[in-house]
């Protein structure tokens, strides 16, 4: 600290506390809204203190849903989101590890060409090729399947680059020692490279789990069968699907449940999350 000014520090705390308050406020309001009875929202502006209907509201959205308001039960949707996030995270990490291993530890024809093919994925987000990608998935009969939800999203240049970078820092002596001991490439990969990469894998997992859980456009395109809906896209049907004013207490209970798992992942694995975020640069 350059100079010790109490007032400046006090002001900084004040700004931060106000700022954090504003950042947290929408979520606070959502939690509060999810604990009130439906009638509360007919009487004008919503209250700021919790109500007494939390258990009813949450059990209603999870187990029953409101089919009239475009809201099937979200228990299954939460499960689908979880499956999708896990499959995407694990799949991305697996194929990225393998391709980074190939690129760093082998010399072969067309290496640069393959590298560029992988790089291209960065430049083609789903949003810019919606219709033709949908057609491919439809032609492969993958609509309304977990495979269709996940496989097209598991190609990842960022994860491959992160692992490539990490493999480059692994000392050469490791490989020499392994070869002296007669280890083949896959044994080296499994017994030496993988254990060394645990932290990087975990950091990548945090980022990719959140990425998978928060997918929106893709499940929207690929699923028409309610049993494959994911929770993040399901909310949209509750908000804009109903003709009347949305059932806010149920919408907000769903919002809280949909946002909670990835938030918990970040809070409990903050260090890994920050590492994953800053080292992949995106």
């Amino acid at each position: 600290m350059v100079q010790n000014d109490r007032f400046g520090t006090f002001l900084a705390h004040l700004i931060l506390i106000l700022g954090v308050g504003i950042v947290v406020f929408p979520v606070y309001v959502a939690v509060i809204a999810s604990t009130h009875a439906p009638g509360t929202f007919l009487q004008g502006v919503m209250p700021l203190l919790p109500g007494s209907h939390a258990i009813e509201n949450y059990s209603e959205v999870i187990f029953q849903g409101r089919s009239t308001a475009g809201a099937p039960p979200i228990g299954l949707m939460l499960w689908n989101s979880f499956v999708m996030a896990m499959m995407i995270a694990v799949g991305k990490i697996a194929i990225s590890l393998l391709s980074a291993f190939a690129i760093v530890y082998f010399r072969f024809r067309f290496r640069i060409f393959f590298f560029w093919i992988i790089f291209i994925t960065l430049m083609l987000p789903v949003e810019v090729r919606i219709v033709p990608t949908f057609e491919v998935v439809a032609n492969l009969n993958l609509l309304n399947t977990y495979a269709g939800l996940t496989i097209p999203l598991i190609a990842s240049a960022t994860a491959t680059f992160l692992f490539r970078q990490f493999f480059m820092t692994v000392p050469e002596e490791m490989l020499e020692a392994a070869r002296v001991d007669g280890a083949g490439p896959m044994k080296f990969f499994k017994d030496i490279l993988l254990p060394l990469s645990v932290t990087n894998i975990a950091a990548m997992f945090v980022i990719m789990f959140i990425y998978g859980w928060n997918q929106y456009l893709w499940p929207l395109l690929i699923t028409s069968d309610e049993s494959y809906y994911t929770v993040v896209m399901g909310i949209q049907r509750m908000v804009t699907g109903a003709d009347s004013e949305p059932l806010w207490h149920l919408v907000m209970a769903t919002v809280v449940l949909a946002a909670l798992p990835p938030i918990l992942v970040i809070l409990f694995m903050q260090r890994l999350f920050v590492k994953g975020l800053t080292e992949t640069e995106k």
Binding site: V2, A12, H13, G19, V20, V23, V27, V29, A30, F41, M46, L48, A94, I95, L98, S99, I103, Y105, F106, R107, R111, F114, I117, I118, I120, T121, L122, M123, L124, E127, V128, R129, I130, V131, E135, V136, V137, I151, P152, I154, A155, T160, E172, L175, E176, R179, F188, N214, Y216, L217, L221, V232, I235, Q236, A259, P262, L267, Q270, L277, E281
Partner: protein, 294 residues
């Protein structure tokens, strides 16, 4: 591009290792993208039975279409607004947190979690805050005599989606700004302080210029985010309305191609968006290279 000095040799293994990634990329990325390129030069008849090759006619039409030009302008306003708001607020937070010693971890924890909230959910959260009948913000604004209505007023709707989109991005920017601030040598700041520079002067003449690589990088990332990752914010709340006031390009591609069934035009829009992403990605990567090679 380097490999290790010593490598394994196998005729087939490297190809087998790359196969899953390359196969998925070819089938789900390269092929659809080339289809989009091809379709952007076709026009289907109204029944979808025949299509004719029309060269760049779809693009010409697009650039003559006032709705498309309006969507471009809307996207620009949205992207600039989101970027400025998200970066300004997080820079302020990062500078304040950087002064703290003991409470730094706490504030960081309190500010990083919005990253985990999906854009669509962020949209719904703020949609509810601004709801005209039960929302808190319109109620407070009424106290100031402002009649908020994002269902009728295009500007209000734009402000709403900008806030929702920026809110989610604060965490990301905050973490990078904080890392950038921590890498500025304390000695420079002390030297300026000895020369009698005040806090504001030190920030604008030393800290902010030294932070410019981070700022530039974040600007590109934020623009990419606002242009391509905010589909959920729009789709779950305003649906491009009212009167197309929040109809950003990504949302328009979806509407025209998926809901409207106008394949040629949608493909042409896709191609334009692809060109934009490619330019932005190249800028971003050149910046990273430069920083690595300092």
């Amino acid at each position: 591009m380097q490999t290790k000095r010593m490598t394994f040799s196998s005729r087939w293994l490297p190809y087998a290792l790359l196969a899953p990634q390359v196969l998925i990329t070819l089938v789900f990325f390269v092929w659809p993208a080339s289809q989009a390129l091809w379709q952007s030069m076709l026009r289907e008849d109204p029944f979808g039975l025949r299509s004719t090759f029309v060269w760049f006619r779809n693009f010409e039409r697009l650039f003559a279409d006032p709705h498309y030009l309006a969507a471009m302008k809307t996207t620009a306003i949205f992207a600039v607004g989101t970027t400025f708001l998200a970066m300004g607020v997080s820079l302020l937070f990062a500078v304040m947190v950087n002064r703290m010693l003991r409470s730094r971890e706490w504030y960081t924890t309190l500010l990083v979690w919005p990253y985990a909230v999906a854009p669509a959910i962020a949209g719904v959260l703020w949609w509810f805050m601004f709801n005209t009948s039960v929302g808190i913000v319109p109620y407070m604004l009424q106290g100031f005599g402002y009649d908020w209505n994002h269902r009728l007023d295009g500007t209000d709707a734009m402000i709403l989606v900008v806030i929702a989109a920026a809110w989610k991005q604060i965490s990301y920017n905050f973490l990078f700004f904080l890392a950038g601030l921590q890498s500025i040598p304390q000695s420079l700041i002390e030297a300026a302080s000895i020369d009698g520079a005040g806090r504001m002067k030190r920030f604008w003449t030393i800290v902010f210029p030294l932070l410019s690589p981070t700022t530039f990088f974040l600007m590109v990332v934020n623009v990419v985010y606002a242009m391509f990752d905010t589909f959920g914010v729009i789709h779950a709340t305003t649906e491009g309305g009212p009167a197309r006031a929040t109809n950003i390009l990504v949302y328009k591609v979806f509407r025209d191609g998926f809901v409207g069934g106008n394949l040629g035009s949608s493909a042409a829009q896709s191609v334009i968006l692809m060109a934009i992403v490619i330019v932005l990605t190249v800028i971003q990567f050149r910046w990273i290279e430069r920083r690595v090679n300092y």
